[in-house]
Amino acid sequence: MRYAPPALWRRHGLAVPAMPVLALASALLAQAQAGPGAQQPPAAVSPPSFAGVVVDPGHGGDDHGAVGATGIEEKALVLGVAQRLQSLAALHGGIRVRLTRDDDRALTLDQRATAANSSPGILFVSLHANFSPSPKTAGVEVGTYRAAGPSAQEVRVAPRRSGPAPPAPPVSRWAALVRWDQAQAQHVERASVVAQRLVERFRAMGTVGPRAWFQAPLKPLSAVNMPGVLVELGYLSNADDEGALVSEERQAALAQAVLDVVLASIENGALPAGPR
């Protein structure tokens, strides 16, 4: 493939990115002059390098979320599973997990997205518990973002077509302005891969709901600037689901399932590997 330098470099008559090359050469020269025993200057302030998994326990504070017949509240249930997931990840050592809240506090959806975007991760997992008008509905479901209205539909990811991939548009990465409230639209494809794997895993556990994988204009995901999935851990309106969800075994199994899928997705390249 023929190398084509970006337009900005071509404008200045450069065939390679000048600044990074110059900076690298200067650093190597300084290192050689200082010798192996020289002290390193303090590192400059760099952008956050988190790149782990952001787990968002839904609701909190005055917002109890759904409430089961026995009184179990969605906000407490999802916080418990999120903390288990964080502990399991720490134990495993394969991926770092951060929570948007680690206590019973109220956060707006924009505050959650801001917290996630300020320290970029490879995946955003919003944990929820479901409810249905019918007590028969049961099972785990996974949601991904899909724009709702006519204007938002313009940012939908184009469906895959057979044949060679179209050439990349002649714009630089820095020119790709994205509306805050539609940041998730550019991550839908990758999020969908993870969602399908989660559904497969939950199906193997024998507990998938009627929608299995659903796509909707999900507000908890829309402004998140990384692949995002919303996991509904079960129906609090269903007696069997509610009974299972209060058990530590079930909560641990759900947390383990999410962690396994994240690690497997990193392993096979569906998600990028972050620092461990």
Partner: protein
């Protein structure tokens, strides 16, 4: 003498009758008589209702089911929309479950002239919502589909609560944009 006078008179009458008959035949079919409205029965009254397709909860818990319901005829699209919403939030047909919180009222329905209908609901649609993204999706879809399925001039629906824009109903579905009709949650056979 008298008999002679009678014969002449009879002949005159006969000639007049023949002449009148010939004249009537020559002017073609007889025109219909003028009929006053009070002389006949009144025409049937105009239809006072429409049959609308509305959406309610499936007792099996799989989604929405469609039902055909008589709704009062509205004088305009806006009035018809309001009547449809009142029916959608009113008495449920047997064999269905509620998907819009009980106590929710229709505050207004209006159009913007570009195919967007605005449904303004009372606060109960949020404060009495059960929560859960599935229940929330059923609520939104039932309202949006009720309007768009019965009013061809309404292509999309924007939901408002107490006259204001809201972020979500129960923390999941983004209400910032109007919704297009979505029949993916409708299960079972078409409405009877």
């Amino acid at each position: 003498m008298m008999w002679r006078a009678l014969a002449v008179a009879g002949a005159v009458v006969l000639l007049l009758a023949l002449g009148a008959g010939a004249w009537m035949i020559s002017r073609g079919p007889v025109a219909p008589a003028v009929v006053r409205s009070s002389d006949v029965e009144a025409p049937p009254a105009p239809t006072s209702h429409i049959t609308a397709t509305l959406f309610f909860g499936d007792p099996g818990g799989r989604g929405l089911i469609a039902r055909r319901v008589d709704v009062p005829l509205g004088a305009s699209v806006a009035e018809q929309g309001e009547a449809i919403l009142l029916a959608a939030l009113g008495t449920r047909p047997p064999g269905t479950t509620p998907v819009v919180p009980v106590g929710t009222r229709v505050r207004a329905f209006y159009l913007d002239g570009t195919g967007t209908g605005f449904v303004d609901l009372s606060a109960e649609v949020r404060t009495k919502h059960t929560g859960g993204s599935f229940a929330e999706a059923l609520t939104v879809a039932a309202v949006v589909n009720a309007v768009t399925s019965n009013l061809p001039s309404v292509a999309r629906v924007r939901l408002l609560v107490e006259g204001r824009e809201v972020e979500t109903l129960a923390g999941h579905l983004d209400l910032a944009e109007p919704f297009l009709p979505d029949l993916s949650l409708v299960v079972g056979r078409p409405a009877p």
